[in-house]
């Protein structure tokens, strides 16, 4: 493995001063530093880009962010509600829980964007799956997640999440912390990348695997495109956009050409000395050429044992795809990649979007992710990586306690679940709760940015110190770390 040194080279300082002072600064922060400097900031001494060092001692080094596109039913995964079964078929008004539909409680912090979906559904829909207690902690997990259930003592389940966008732009809201009405903002991964840079020279530093069905693919936004996630495919032959020539051009020809380009740029530099952009571009070509081989190496599993592959469920058709992604995620963590975002399930607005046929839908999706995720947690633990790797399981919202049509559930923003594991998070704990039908988060309520705050804290970052001039963030953007689940 490469020596773990901070890499802060291959980017562009648009002014001589920033370029010359580049040593020790982050790849991405440098790009931003240059941008802001260009805009006239930073000269008054009030602002300087991140150094790539944590602000305080970190407990985690990397994050694996598992995002279930479409919206997982919290009641049928990690927050069982037997009352749904008891009162199944009744309207909420007919049950003792009529108060949940008090319009005051339903008024969202931000206006929702309703279309045919994203409505409240009044007729309670019975639970579609059984629940059992597991592990020493005795936390209940639905029978759709039998393997993950065995790892439950590693999890901190937060059952009291809420968000505001009743449609799938809540995916964006979950990552950027703001309702789409407010516009586009950098995502959590971009902030982490911006704040910490990378531990490896040869790889993209912030990676996205799997589809992002309906939200903008830009992450860095005002932090600059250097903080965008690099979309990867787990395919050694073609892992990265443009990672191999789309035409006849041999590696040998290319490498001869690369040396020649370097020579020409150096000669040109005699007439145009001290050109920061040129220096940065030369570096970016070096990194690009290295990435062409190092990325395929990481996603090539020939060195992995059959036992490991089995652990991730790669030998089973139903979970091969997600297992492959998670094994790659572990390999990226080993290589020092900071933030690996793994999305599960494309199609429409996301595979979990069970407006109808929830039972079939969730059973199938859970089957696809259960073994891989359990395998990832076990594997990270056995390699001693779980302590420094924070694993997060989330989706944009939960699903309605009431039924949509005869056998589905609609989008639900008032209460849902997220869990975290590793990276200094307590294992085997449940935090917060929803009411008896899973409608509202009622205890220890957390907006999505509290998840961000918790992760940043474990990584040793203070989001307020990352804030940049001219881009004032609101209190809610920063969120509050969920200290109760931090070990």
């Amino acid at each position: 493995m490469e020596e773990r040194t901070m890499n802060h080279d291959a980017t562009y300082g648009s002014t001589r001063r920033t370029f010359l002072s580049r040593a020790g600064m982050g790849f991405a922060s440098l790009a931003l530093g240059a941008m802001l400097h260009r805009d006239g900031y930073g000269s008054d001494g009030h602002w300087s880009p991140p150094t790539g060092e944590p602000h305080f001692p970190a407990k985690a080094k990397s994050v694996i962010w598992l995002f279930m596109n479409g919206g997982v039913s919290h009641m049928e995964s990690f927050d069982p509600k037997p009352m749904l079964t008891k009162y199944g078929g009744k309207t909420i008004a007919e049950t003792p829980f009529a108060e949940t539909q008090n319009p005051e409680k339903l008024a969202l912090a931000r206006a929702a964007v309703p279309d045919a979906n994203g409505q409240q559904r009044n007729k309670l829909f019975p639970l579609q799956v059984g629940f059992r207690r597991h592990g020493a902690s005795g936390i209940e997990v639905s029978d759709w997640f039998p393997n993950l259930a065995k790892q439950v003592d590693k999890l901190a389940v937060v059952r009291s999440m809420w968000t505001t966008d009743s449609n799938h732009a809540a995916q964006r809201e979950f990552h950027q912390g703001r309702n789409r009405i407010d516009g586009y903002f950098p995502t959590l991964g971009a902030w982490v990348h911006y704040g910490l840079g990378s531990l490896n020279d040869n790889l993209p530093q912030y990676i996205s695997v799997g589809t992002r069905p309906i939200w903008n693919k830009k992450d860095g936004l005002y932090l600059g495109p250097a903080n965008d996630a690099v979309p990867l495919r787990i395919d050694p032959d073609n892992p990265l956009d443009y990672s191999r020539p789309q035409g006849t051009f041999s590696r040998k020809e290319q490498s001869i050409g690369k040396d020649y380009i370097d020579k020409l740029n150096a000669l040109r530099g005699e007439r145009y000395p001290d050109d920061d952009a040129m220096a940065a571009r030369i570096k970016s070509y070096e990194l690009a050429f290295r990435m062409q081989t190092s990325v395929p190496d990481v996603v090539d599993f020939t060195q992995e044992s059959e036992e490991t592959k089995t652990l991730y469920g790669i030998d089973r058709k139903e979970c091969e795809d997600f297992g492959t992604k998670l094994l790659a995620a572990r390999r990226f963590v080993e290589q020092g990649v900071r933030f690996i975002q793994v999305q599960h399930g494309g199609g429409g607005a996301g595979a979990w979007d069970a407006h109808s046929g929830l039972k079939k839908n969730h059973a199938k999706n859970a089957l696809a992710v259960d073994r891989p995720i359990a395998g990832l947690l076990a594997d990270l633990a056995q390699r001693g990586l779980l302590d420094e790797t924070l694993v997060v399981f989330a989706s944009e919202f939960g699903r309605t306690p009431g039924s949509q049509g005869s056998d589905g559930r609609d989008h639900h923003v008032y209460g849902f679940s997220v869990w975290m594991a590793g990276g200094g998070i307590k294992g085997g704990v449940v935090h917060g709760k929803t009411d008896e039908i899973g409608f509202h988060a009622v205890e220890d309520r957390h907006y999505v940015t509290d998840i961000h705050a918790t992760i940043l804290k474990q990584l040793g970052l203070d989001s307020r110190k990352l804030e940049i001039p001219g881009r004032k963030r609101l209190v809610i953007d920063h969120g509050q770390p969920i200290d109760a689940i931090i070990a």
Partner: protein, 889 residues
């Protein structure tokens, strides 16, 4: 102002003295530096907006220590040396939310650590820097002052080519800067081509300019390029960034945001720039062509600027974006900040946002039919019109749409500080054809064509089914039955449309009344017949469903539906059997379609909006205010954009914020001179283009060679002693590759190239479909404009760009073609090499560059399975990946 300073020094003295006797006090002592770097920035961020130059709530200002001591209505806010007695600290630290400052929702409360810092500073005697100046009066802010044409300074004659240089020279002399020499001619040619037409010069074009012996060669080239139609395409893309061009997005075919066929607006931009339509007129047309030129289809395209903000679900988001970007794009104002609260930096109150919104409150979007095409999925011009003339505008408490203040409707208006005249809003009576769209001469014909096309299509699918069926033709075929009904319905529709077209024609003046009545009755009958066929088809369809229904539940449902369809058929039959009454009329063949909204949240489309005979005149009034010569912002903002896009860096760094939060211009007089030139030359952008590119400043070298003393004095080139090199925009990179390969498709205008066709398309990149969720991968790699907001492109350098230029099909397909073209002009190797450098990179290679190139060709040739052509293609590949290919040197 000397007194507080004296007091401050006295306090310092006291601290030092006390410190000598009580060492504990010295610990944590503060000094003026701590105040400036710690306390003051906090106060500036959280307090100045209400207690500073902008506002003086409670008669209090906190922008200098002296003013704090002086205090406000409640007396002194700080007692130097005694934090416990200081009112400021008490309010900052108050637990009671009614007491605490900043008030809830107005700013983040101070943390314990921050309070401790303020406490330490006060306890240390509240030391302040000498001569601390209060904030300037907002009314004196530079950008709110009228544009006054400045005198051109007497510059150094040798360097100066036009007045721009005189303004720059002035600062050069003050700072001892020596401008860099002029760039080589070849490089100047490349710059002009890339800048003015967005493509590199061809070998022939280079040849022509290099051989131009005229002293005016440069000016001739500038004239030629400004007249070139490709100039409009190049600069349209700049303005499409600023004006937020975005093709539509939606869910499947359902439009949610922007408009289908928005390319009509893009084409209007290209054409307007090519005609040098004055900038002020462009603004007026974009904001209000429907009021100013209600019957001019070409000009109506301009309102795509507003149609682009259409958002099916939420009117408030739609109008917020409209206000935000009209303000940022034309005026350099961040009005979006005052949606929720009074502006924290600029003299705008919350109601100003809603006054601005009121200009737009009545407007909606529709598609106008184009001659020959009545299918709006295929074509139609997106345009705006005032639909809801009585719709009131309300202020939203704290910006929340759930909390409108309905006690006071808000009238359109502009911020006081920018009100140089009475705003006159005159309602506009629209010509009949503007709102009775069925009267447009092409409308009926287009409807007939569409009905004919639909019939042909229905017949075709029936034919296909019948042909397929022959193999096992015994069973009755439900598909065929349905298709047969489709044909009958299409026939009836065509008949009805033809009758209505005839009736519309007969309704025009000059036709005799009897004929008019007769054709009208025919049209009514035609519509009844159509309705009858539709009902018959529905009954047949329901009968088929019943035949196929399985299970009791579905069976019962199908029966029910059949019964109701049958009843509807009986009704239609009854109607059809009645005589046509004299006053009865038919559904007109309209020439426009309202863009459906869903604001009512019923799960279906809102009731359609009819086209009123009047327009409010509000947007015309707004456009006149924005383009008034007395407006201090419009011309300055435009001049700054034009300068930045030619020179790489703006004169005012924050291109969309000319307010107090934004930065000051580096050359205020130059900016004002450019703004004056723009206005005084009839707002001709071409005039400004010419001025800027013919300046000596533009023609300088960008090299740092031999510029040590300049670098020491001005390392960031704020004062323009050299050209700042920049990276080509995404579109220019792609277009250049195709142009060099000779494969660029010069077709101008028309529908956007859809994502599926982009990989193989050779059209210029500005014609590519471009929206929030559909952007081209290659272009995105090079900092493509974000459709939601892009007042300035980024110029990042990331490895993905190297991969795209190295490995993309675009480049790898082109390199062989480029090599072949270069080899056609010269066969010997050195000639080829020289030509390759000149054409691809814009400079003459040195001996060493030639030597390195000969060597690399040799190396490639020695590889197995290679050829001379392939080696040369590889060389072209290398030059495309040379730093200077993507650089404006």
């Amino acid at each position: 102002m000397t007194q507080p300073a004296t007091r401050c020094r006295w306090s310092m003295l006291l601290i030092l003295t006390l410190g000598a006797f009580f060492p504990g006090i010295g610990k944590g002592a503060s000094n003026p530096t701590d105040y400036l770097s710690g306390v003051k920035p906090l106060l500036r961020e959280r307090c100045f907006s209400c207690h500073g130059a902008l506002k003086q709530e409670g008669g209090l200002r906190l922008d200098t220590v002296a003013l704090m001591i002086q205090g406000g209505d409640s007396g002194a806010t700080i007692v130097p040396g005694d934090a416990r007695e200081s009112y400021l600290l008490a309010r900052l630290a108050a637990n009671d939310l009614d007491e605490r400052m900043p008030p809830e929702h107005e700013g983040e409360p101070f943390t314990a650590k921050q309070l401790a810092m303020v406490r330490t500073w006060i306890d240390s005697g509240a030391p302040a820097p000498e001569g601390e100046e209060p904030e300037a009066d907002p009314e004196d802010h530079w950008s709110f002052q009228p544009v006054v044409r400045p005198d051109v300074p007497l510059g150094e004659v040798a360097w100066r080519r036009n007045p721009i240089d005189a303004f720059l020279s002035h600062r050069h002399q003050e700072l001892g800067l020596v401008p860099q020499p002029e760039a080589p001619r070849l490089l100047q040619v490349r710059r002009l081509y890339l800048d003015l037409v967005g493509l590199p010069p061809s070998a022939e074009e280079i040849e022509r300019v290099v051989n131009d012996r005229s002293a005016m060669w440069y000016e001739h080239l500038v004239d030629r390029l400004l007249e070139d139609p490709r100039h409009g395409e190049r600069w349209a893309r700049h303005w499409m960034d600023v004006w937020r061009y975005s093709d539509w997005w939606g869910y499947r075919d359902i439009l949610r945001n922007s408009q289908k066929h928005l390319w009509h607006w893009r084409d209007w931009i290209v054409e307007s720039l090519n005609r040098d339509l004055p900038y002020d007129e462009m603004i007026r047309q974009m904001l209000a062509a429907d009021e100013l030129y209600p019957e001019d289809a070409d000009k109506l395209r301009a309102t795509g600027f507003l149609a682009r903000n259409f958002y099916i679900f939420n009117r408030n988001i739609w109008l917020e974006q409209t206000v935000e970007h009209v303000s940022k794009g034309f005026l350099g104002l961040t009005m979006n900040c005052v949606k929720c609260h009074d502006h924290k930096y600029d003299p705008f109150e919350q109601a100003d946002f809603y006054r601005m919104r009121a200009f737009f409150e009545p407007y909606h979007v529709r598609l106008d039919m184009v001659p020959g095409e009545a299918d709006y999925e295929r074509d139609g011009v997106p345009r705006v019109f005032d639909a809801q003339l009585e719709m009131p505008t309300y202020l939203f408490v704290r910006g929340q749409e759930t909390r409108p203040d309905t006690s006071t409707p808000i009238e359109p208006g502009v911020p006081d500080i920018l009100a140089f005249d009475e705003l006159e809003i005159e309602p506009v009576a629209l010509p009949t054809r503007a709102w009775k769209t069925e009267l447009r001469p092409w409308t009926a014909a287009a409807h007939v064509t569409l009905a004919e096309r639909d019939l042909a299509a229905a017949e075709r699918s029936l034919r296909n089914l019948v042909n397929k069926q022959k193999k096992d033709s015994h069973k009755p075929d439900a598909k065929i039955e349905r298709a047969t009904w489709k044909v009958k319905e299409a026939e009836a529709r065509l008949a009805s449309v033809r009758l209505r077209a005839a009736a519309s024609k007969a309704a025009r003046p000059g036709v005799d009344a009897m004929a008019m009545i007769a054709t009208r009755a025919e049209a009514v009958r035609g519509e009844r017949a159509l309705e009858l066929v539709k009902r018959q088809a529905a009954v047949a369809a329901k009968q088929l469903s019943l035949d196929q229904a399985k299970g009791d539940e579905r069976n019962a449902k199908a029966k029910k539906e059949l019964a109701s369809a049958t009843k509807a058929l009986r009704d239609a039959e009854e109607t059809a059997s009645k005589p046509v009454l004299l006053e009865e009329t038919f559904t007109p063949l309209e020439g426009a379609k309202w863009a459906t909204t869903r604001f009512l949240h019923t799960g279906r489309d809102d009731p359609p909006i009819t086209f009123p005979a009047h327009s409010s005149g509000r947007r015309t009034a707004l456009a006149r205010w924005i383009t008034d010569r007395r407006h201090p912002l419009t011309a300055r903002v435009a001049a700054n954009q034009l300068w930045m896009r030619h020179m790489g860096e703006p004169l005012v760094a924050d291109v969309f914020d000319f307010g107090r939060k934004g930065s000051q211009p580096t050359h205020p007089k130059l900016l004002d001179w450019l703004a004056s030139e723009l206005m005084e030359h009839g707002w001709s952008m071409r005039h400004l283009h010419r001025l800027i590119v013919t300046s000596a400043a533009y023609r300088m070298s960008s090299s740092l060679a031999g510029a040590e003393s300049n670098l020491a004095a001005d390392p960031d080139n704020h004062y323009w002693w050299r050209r700042t090199p920049g990276r080509l925009e995404s579109q220019v990179i792609r277009d250049s590759v195709l142009a060099l390969a000779g494969t660029l498709d010069p077709t101008m205008g028309g529908p956007s190239v859809p994502p599926k066709s982009q990989e193989n398309s050779k059209r210029r990149s500005l014609y590519f479909f471009h929206s929030d969720d559909k952007r081209n991968l290659f272009l995105t790699s090079f900092d493509e404009a974000l459709p939601a907001e892009c007042y300035r492109r980024e110029q990042s350098i990331v490895p993905q760009q190297a991969l795209a230029l190295s490995n993309s099909k675009l480049v790898l397909d082109a390199v062989g073609q480029i090599a072949t073209r270069l080899s056609e002009q010269t066969t010997d190797e050195d000639g080829f090499l020289r030509q390759a450098f000149v054409v691809i990179l814009g400079f003459e290679p040195t001996e060493r560059e030639i030597a390195a190139s000969r060597e690399v060709l040799r190396t490639w040739r020695r590889l197995p399975d290679t050829s001379e052509e392939r080696a040369r293609a590889n060389l072209v590949w290398a030059l495309i990946n040379h730093n200077d290919f993507v650089t404006i040197r």
